[in-house]
Symmetry: C2
Subunit: 353 residues, 2 copies
C-alpha cells in the first residue's frame, strides 16, 4: 500500500490517516476513562471513537441523569451507506442513554454548496437517510428531526433558530470561514452559519434551555466545531454552554482508501439488495489475502489492510468472535472468501434491523 | 457654496447632488406621465420623487385595482426625524391607494452592521420609528409590521422568509455584496441577504402570492435593489415578479449638506418639543437671506439654498402658498426670520398629526 502525505480538512481527506497526529494538530484530547455503559459500545471499546473536546460534561449529565442533547447534521446527497453507520449508531446509543436527539437534514447546505434542489433533498432524506437511521434503531420519541429550510412548525422556535444564524454572522471573520471551507462562496458561508446554529440552538430557551450539547463527528469536521465554539464564546445574546464533541475514525472504502459518496463501488448502500452486497464485496473488497489458497494457508493474510476485517470491527459486537477472525485470518486458517462471506452476512443483517 | 465632487453609494453620500447624473449612472428612468392621484401628492408633483424602475406595473395595479405591496425597511438607530418623512409619507400614500404595507424593522442589520442589541432596536423602533409612522398617518389595517429577528408568529411564514434569505446566498458573488456595502464583513453580507428577502418575500405563496412589490427609496439605496433584482432573476425556487422602485431626492440637513442621524443639529426629531424645533431652526437652519434686513429688502434672498424653503417644499401642500413664499423671499418681501417662523409651524404641525 502506498503511503501518502496525510491531509485532512472538512472538504477533503487525502492520504493515509495518522489519528494520533490529527489529534495533536487539532488540539483535541484522548478520551478519559469511561463508565461501563460506554465499554459496552464497540466503537468506544475498539477506539473507533478515540478523542473528544469537553466530553466530560456529557459524562456528568449521563451520570447525574441531567438532560442533554446529541446532534448531528446530514447533507442529503447520494445514498445512505455503511459509512454513515458510525454516526447513526452513536445517535441511537445516546438516545438510549436518555439524550434528546437533534437530527438535522442540511438541505440549505445541499442547495448552497452543492446546488441540489430542496425537493431532491427531501426525497433523498426520506428515502435514504431517515430510513437508514430508523433501520438502525433510531426512535421517534425524544428525537427532533428537522430540515434546515423549515426548522419548526412552532413559530417561536423557527424565529429563534434563524435569528441565531443571523446574529452569529457578526461574530466571525471571512478568514475563519475559509478555515472551514477552503475556497468560500456566499452560499458556503451562509451554510457554515446555519450549521453553527444547528449545533448551538438546542441550548436556546425556545428549545431545550441550558443543556450540554454533544456533536459526534469524524475528525475532518472539527473546523466546523471550532468555528461554532468561537462564535458561541463571542456572542452576547445568549450564554452558551461550550459544545462537546467526540471524534471517530473513518470506515475505509470498499477498495481501500477513502469511502466516497460519489463512488458507489466504495460503499454498501442501505438500498443495495443482499445480492448486490454479495457481488460488491466479492468483486471490490480490498483483500489482505495471498495470491493463492496454498500461499494463504502457509503464510496467512493481513487483517490490518483487509477491508472486510476492518469493516467487521464496526459490525461484529462479540470481541471473542472478532479476535478469532483476526487470528484465523492471520494464521491462514480463514480464507479471504470465507472472511468476505462473514462480512456480507453482517452487512445484510445490520441493514435489515 | 462650495461644489464638491458628487459620490453616492449606499454607505455614503458626498458632495452636491446632481440627480440627472445619478439617474444616468444607475440606469434608472424618469417617471412616466402619472394619473391624477399622483399629481395630488406634493412629492410627485414637485419632482421630489423623480425616477423609477418598473413602476409601470404598480401603476397598472392601482388602475386595475389589483393587489400590490409597498415595502420599506428601517434601521432603528437614533431618532425618527424629518428626513424619514419622505419614505413614511409615501408608505401612507400607497396604503390609502389600497397597497398592503410591509414595514420591516431591520434589527438584524442594526446588530450586524452597527453592533446594536436587539433590545435597543426594539425600544428605538417602538419609541421612535413606529411612533413616527403612526403620527404621520400609517394605519394598522393592511400593514404587516415586523422585525427581521422575529419575522412572524405564523411558523409557515417565518420558515419561508428565512428560507428565502438562505437560498438567495447561492445566487450572488462576494463582489456583488461589495458593490452594496463597499467594505464587507460576514455580518454585512448576511444583512444584505435578509434585506433582499425583505423585498422579495411578500411575493411568496406564504405571504401575498404573485403581486407586484414597490420599494420606494433614496437613490443611494439603488445598489440594494439591483442586488435583489439580480438574485431574484437567478433563483429558480420561485418565479418572482421583478421589483419596482421609485427614487426620491434627499431633504437637506438643517445646516445645509447632508442630513445625518448621528448629528442631531442636522435634523428635527419627532421627539423634539415645539420649543426645540424653534430653537434649532432659528439657530442652525442655513439661510439664503442677506446679512442685513436692509440688504435683504433691497436684493432679496435665495430660496434655492435656503434650507427652510427647501424643507417647505416637503411640507407645504398648497402650491400657491409655496410659490408665494418663494417669490416673496426672492424679492425681499419675506425675511429669513419670517420664513423660519413658517417652517417651524409646519414642522410642529406635521409631527403632531
Amino acid at each position: 500500500m502506498q503511503v501518502n502525505k496525510m491531509e485532512v480538512t472538512p472538504w477533503d481527506v487525502k492520504g493515509d490517516l495518522n489519528y494520533d497526529k490529527l489529534m495533536k494538530e487539532f488540539g483535541i484530547q484522548k478520551l478519559p476513562l469511561l463508565p461501563p455503559e460506554f465499554k459496552d459500545n464497540l466503537m468506544f471499546r475498539r477506539n473507533i471513537i478515540y478523542a473528544h473536546r469537553d466530553f466530560g460534561r456529557i459524562l456528568d449529565a449521563i451520570k447525574n441523569k441531567i438532560p442533554f442533547v446529541v446532534m448531528t447534521g446530514l447533507v442529503p446527497t447520494g445514498k445512505f451507506h455503511i459509512g454513515h453507520m458510525a454516526i447513526a449508531k452513536q445517535m441511537i446509543f445516546y438516545q438510549k442513554l436518555g439524550a434528546k436527539v437533534y437530527l438535522c437534514i442540511a438541505d440549505i447546505e445541499a442547495y448552497n454548496a452543492r446546488g441540489q434542489s430542496l425537493e431532491d433533498s427531501r426525497k433523498i432524506a426520506e428515502n435514504e437517510y431517515i430510513k437508514g437511521f430508523k433501520a438502525l434503531g433510531l426512535k421517534n420519541e425524544n428525537c427532533d428531526l428537522y430540515f434546515q429550510s423549515e426548522r419548526s412548525k412552532d413559530a417561536k422556535k423557527a424565529n429563534a433558530y434563524y435569528r441565531l444564524q443571523n446574529l452569529l454572522a457578526k461574530h466571525a471573520t471571512f478568514n475563519e470561514f475559509r478555515a472551514v471551507y477552503g475556497e468560500i462562496t456566499p452560499g458556503k458561508m451562509v451554510s457554515a452559519l446555519i450549521q453553527a446554529s444547528d449545533m448551538l440552538h438546542p441550548m436556546l430557551p425556545e428549545f431545550e434551555g441550558s443543556v450540554p450539547v454533544l456533536v459526534p463527528v469524524g475528525v475532518d469536521q472539527d473546523p466546523h466545531l471550532r468555528l461554532a465554539r468561537d462564535m458561541a464564546k463571542r456572542i452576547k445574546t445568549h450564554k452558551f454552554i461550550q459544545l462537546s464533541s467526540t471524534y471517530n475514525k473513518f470506515m475505509p472504502g470498499l477498495r481501500g482508501g477513502k469511502m466516497s459518496g460519489s463512488d458507489p463501488n466504495s460503499f454498501i448502500a442501505l438500498s443495495d439488495s443482499p445480492a448486490d452486497v454479495k457481488k460488491k464485496v466479492n468483486k471490490y473488497a480490498f483483500s489482505g489475502g495471498r495470491a493463492t489458497v496454498d500461499e494463504h494457508r502457509k503464510l496467512g493474510g493481513d487483517p490490518d489492510v483487509d477491508v472486510s476485517y476492518q469493516w467487521l470491527k464496526f459490525l461484529e459486537v462479540d470481541d471473542a468472535k472478532l479476535n478469532k477472525v483476526h487470528d484465523d485470518y492471520k494464521n491462514g486458517k480463514l480464507l479471504s472468501g470465507e472472511l468476505k462471506k462473514i462480512i456480507i452476512e453482517k452487512i445484510v443483517t445490520a441493514f435489515k434491523k
